[in-house]
């Protein structure tokens, strides 16, 4: 901007590189900070590169450093907000609510309305029922929801509050109408992670809002899981529409978490219709697009007598499984349009896989994404060498072991559960691979490895992505999603190659204009 140029205003991106500030930093460090001398710092950095440090780090038993997992309520929030006119409500301390809303808003760049009933010390002594009575009444009066989905945070769980009784009493005492649906889930943060919270809330809402009438309708339920790509919700609906299938998408936050800027703020936008939710038990089948995020929910669906299929529609094989699941359940053939799209995705892979073939990757994130992406990377000829889930579980590890056998490069794959980002950091130093797929937090690993002399490149796929814009809008499932993922991955490889070859008169013979 002209106005800016004339005044030469510098913000933190450039300001503190000015000599006067560098001088100020030197002065502060040398006179006041009791700073560790540089050579001692460098010694520690060398030690960080050693096998010894890695082994010491991996022998940790109690300390967790930079975990790539959130706690249960965060997942419960995402599950609940995808229902029509549903108010997310947290029973516990109010700070938790502020944290969940903040974290989710930073990812989606959208408002994430949710209430807390703000329990304080007195509730620890007497129980949180008064908070719940008044909280439900206030929330209902002010925000006029048609459903309130209640989850818990630590405090309520530790003191053992009984949600079922509290909600019933709130209705009996007239704080909220008897017929207001208030499904709930206990979501203790000291059990599992956000994906378990998603499962618990989904299970709570489905089990309390829907009961089988005995009749089975020729209709499929879809549960997407803890999926933070808004495009995925739209993609699965588009695919089902192309099939001409009658379906209910159970939790569809694609409108509320991607609402238009048009001068008006609405707290509720779209979502799964409550009428559909109530009838969901009568669908003949449910397809779930994530496995480890929906364990308890799957049990419920089986109890409902539904045909339950779990697929992971990332990449070609994964999407093929989705196609065959839909086709198998409905008897409808895969639409020509989708077959053409499959062909396009395969075509795109034939264009690009030469650049991915043999390239080595590490991944850290949620288990369903880990599984789908590892398989897709292998379809592309890549080698997922380190696949790590802080919130991975034994059944996930078993599935990953089986996946290894499906591809020749599978034998190179190492699978780790329960490990955090500091584990990943020293692992990558010891067994370096150039590409890391992860979250915004992983930029610290990229920086650290680069600082220690390892040219690591981060590709952002997963949750959260707080430092890049709009990636969450795309779809990563289906054949279209496969093309999207391929685009991110192959172009990141090109960025890496360009950066590595741009040396003028040294390596820039390979700095090609054609690739």
């Amino acid at each position: 901007m002209g106005i800016d140029k004339e005044l030469n205003i510098k913000d933190h991106l450039k300001l503190f590189r000015e000599e006067e500030f560098k001088e100020l930093f030197r002065d502060k460090a040398s006179k006041y900070e009791s700073k560790i001398p540089e050579d001692e710092i460098n010694k520690i950095k060398e030690w960080h590169k050693s096998r010894e440090y890695h082994e010491l780090n991996w022998s940790r038993e109690a300390l967790v450093i930079n975990p790539i997992k959130a706690c249960q309520p965060l997942g419960a929030y995402l599950a609940a907000i995808g229902f029509e006119k549903t108010l997310v409500y947290s029973h516990g301390s109010q700070g938790c609510n502020a944290y969940f809303r903040t974290h989710l808003a930073r990812h989606f760049k959208e408002p994430f309305p949710a209430c807390s009933d703000a329990m304080t010390e007195d509730a620890a002594v007497f129980g949180g029922y008064n908070n719940m009575y008044e909280g439900l009444e206030n929330a209902y009066t002010l925000y006029k929801p048609e459903m309130i989905a209640v989850n818990t945070t630590c405090m309520a769980e530790v003191i053992g509050d009984d949600l079922n009784a509290f909600i019933k009493n709130a209705k009996d005492k007239g704080h909220i109408p008897q017929d207001l649906p208030v499904p709930y889930a206990h979501t203790p943060s000291f059990v599992g992670s956000h994906i378990v919270g998603y499962d618990n809330m989904m299970h709570g809402i489905l089990s309390q809002m829907s009961t089988p009438s005995g009749e089975k309708k020729d209709r499929i339920n879809i549960i997407v899981g803890f999926d933070t790509y808004i495009g995925d919700y739209r993609e699965i609906k588009r695919i089902l529409d192309l099939f001409g299938v009658d379906y209910i998408l159970l939790s569809d936050p694609s409108d509320i978490l991607d609402s238009p800027a048009n001068g008006e703020y609405k707290m509720y936008y779209g979502g799964t219709k409550l009428e559909d939710l109530k009838d969901a038990a009568n669908s003949k089948a449910t397809i779930l697009l994530q496995k480890y995020t929906t364990k308890k929910t799957q049990e419920l669906l089986k109890e409902w007598g539904q045909d339950v299929r779990v697929v992971n529609p990332i990449g070609i094989k994964g999407t093929d499984e989705l196609m065959m699941a839909i086709s198998g359940l409905t008897g409808k053939p895969v639409p020509e349009q989708l077959e053409i799209e499959r062909g396009r995705a395969v075509d795109a892979i034939t264009d690009s896989y030469y650049w991915i073939y043999g390239k080595q990757f590490a991944f850290q994130g949620d288990p369903d994404l880990a599984y789908g992406l590892s398989r897709y990377l292998m379809e592309l000829g890549g080698e997922p060498v380190h696949v790590m889930c802080t919130n991975g579980t034994k059944d996930w590890v078993e599935d990953m072991e089986k996946l290894k056998e499906e591809f020749p490069q599978g034998k190179e794959m190492n699978v780790y559960m329960g490990k955090d980002m500091w584990h990943l950091r020293t692992l990558l130093i010891q067994e370096f691979v150039p590409f890391l797929i992860g979250t915004s937090y992983h930029k610290y690993v990229e920086r650290d490895l680069n600082d220690l002399g390892f040219p690591l490149k981060l590709i952002r796929i997963g949750y959260p992505i707080h430092d890049r814009h709009h990636l969450h809008r795309f779809s990563i499932i289906g054949y279209q999603g496969a093309i999207q993922l391929l685009t991110w991955i192959v172009n990141s490889i090109f960025d890496y190659i360009d950066n590595d070859t741009k040396g003028m008169a040294t390596t820039d013979y390979s700095y090609d204009i054609i690739r």
Binding site: I9, D11, I65, A70, L142, S189
Partner: protein, 491 residues
Amino acid sequence: MPLNLVSKEEAEKVVQDILSAYPKKAQKDRAKHMNVVDESFPKDTKCVQTSNVKSRPGVMSVRGCAYAGSKGVVWGPVKDMIHISHGPVGCGYYSWAGRRNYYIGHTGVNTFGTMDFTSDFQERDVVFGGDKKLTQIIEEIEKLFPLNKGITIQSECPIGLIGDDIEAVARQASKKINKPVVPVRCEGFRGVSQSLGHHIANDTIRDWVFENKHVDTNSFAQEIEDSPYNIAIIGDYNIGGDAWTSRKILEDMGLSVIAQWSGDGTLSELVNTKKVKLNVLHCYRSMNYISRYMEEAFGIPWIEYNFFGPTQIFASMRKIASLFDDKIKEKTEYLISEVYGPRLQRIIDKYKPRIQGKKIALYVGGLRPRHIVTAFEDLGAEVIALGYEFAHADDYERTTHYVDNATIVVDDATEHELEKILKELKPDLFGSGIKEKYQAQKMGIPFRQMHSWDYSGPYHGVEGFEIFARDVDMAVNGYVWKELTPPWKRV
């Protein structure tokens, strides 16, 4: 002269509209938290503005918790100590690197600010207690991060509920590692907001840094030269580099800033602060406690200052200089008239015509809503509504000194209240937090995050005002705000 962009009657009507939507009990309570303040308002608002009390359940308050106030605000930025988020995984994860407390250091080696250390409580820890685990965690930290200067234990809700004795763990551990290990009882259910967390954190600095409970911290302090000009910056968390631009002004004046609390701060600086001649306090709300303590214990005077915008910067510089000798006073006058003054006048000349007459609404923490008022006025804009998440009576009292036009002042606002204010008063800019940002933008109201400077900054000091003016202009004059209504719907 107030611009009076909103009349007192208009403002009072908004307050009435807000209240009418509440159930009776909440309505009665919320009425006490809202006032329309202008120059005729009593300067002692202690009796009329209710604050620092429990939020009503279910109203969608913006507030956080004591843990956020201690780990997230006061202790977290002390860069060469390791802060354990003690309890389940979430609190540490959500607050991980989320506040842009800038610092210089080799993260993971001698500084640890953008890392998340957690005890990741599992069910068994809640059932059997986490003290043994905590002891082991401290041992593991010592092995893996030997250059740390000390450890704090930031308690999350379950710790206080299950009866863990983190004080005993801290006592034993600090003797073993011969470094301060500070137990902080900042469980999220304590108090009513972040504010008690600030206080609790201040008290633990008093006990474990100054009063040497367990370990003598003096050995952690660098030896410094005694000087009549030694001062400390208190209550600046260096968001986007705020403390650095503030430090520059104070050093330009001829003073020596020997400690920053706590942005880019170190244990050495904390310990040395007892040797300063003056504490200058920016965020009164979060660090007045330790300032008062140092005054009592070491006889160190403290004064509040405000480095937002030229009017306040210059007034604060003079106020600080008045406590020193003529050399400092002369240097200060020279800086104002010859260096900073002309430099900032260029900014005002450029930006004031673009910002003149704009209506501003602010809803932030415990300090900024009042502190920034004059900076907006320097640019020709007027604050028409302001509110605090966690202010106390003394903050509201101070607020009246900044406000002379009809301004809605709201304490612990709810989502409903903010929405009404935005809808009815249609400010040209809303400055608040990330939870409020996208709602305002959907309504077509330009927005700046006023906790994090919307990832820009610094906003403190001379360079800070330049960036602030640029950002306000960028927000209120952005082209996209004209495009919210499609041409076929325009009247």
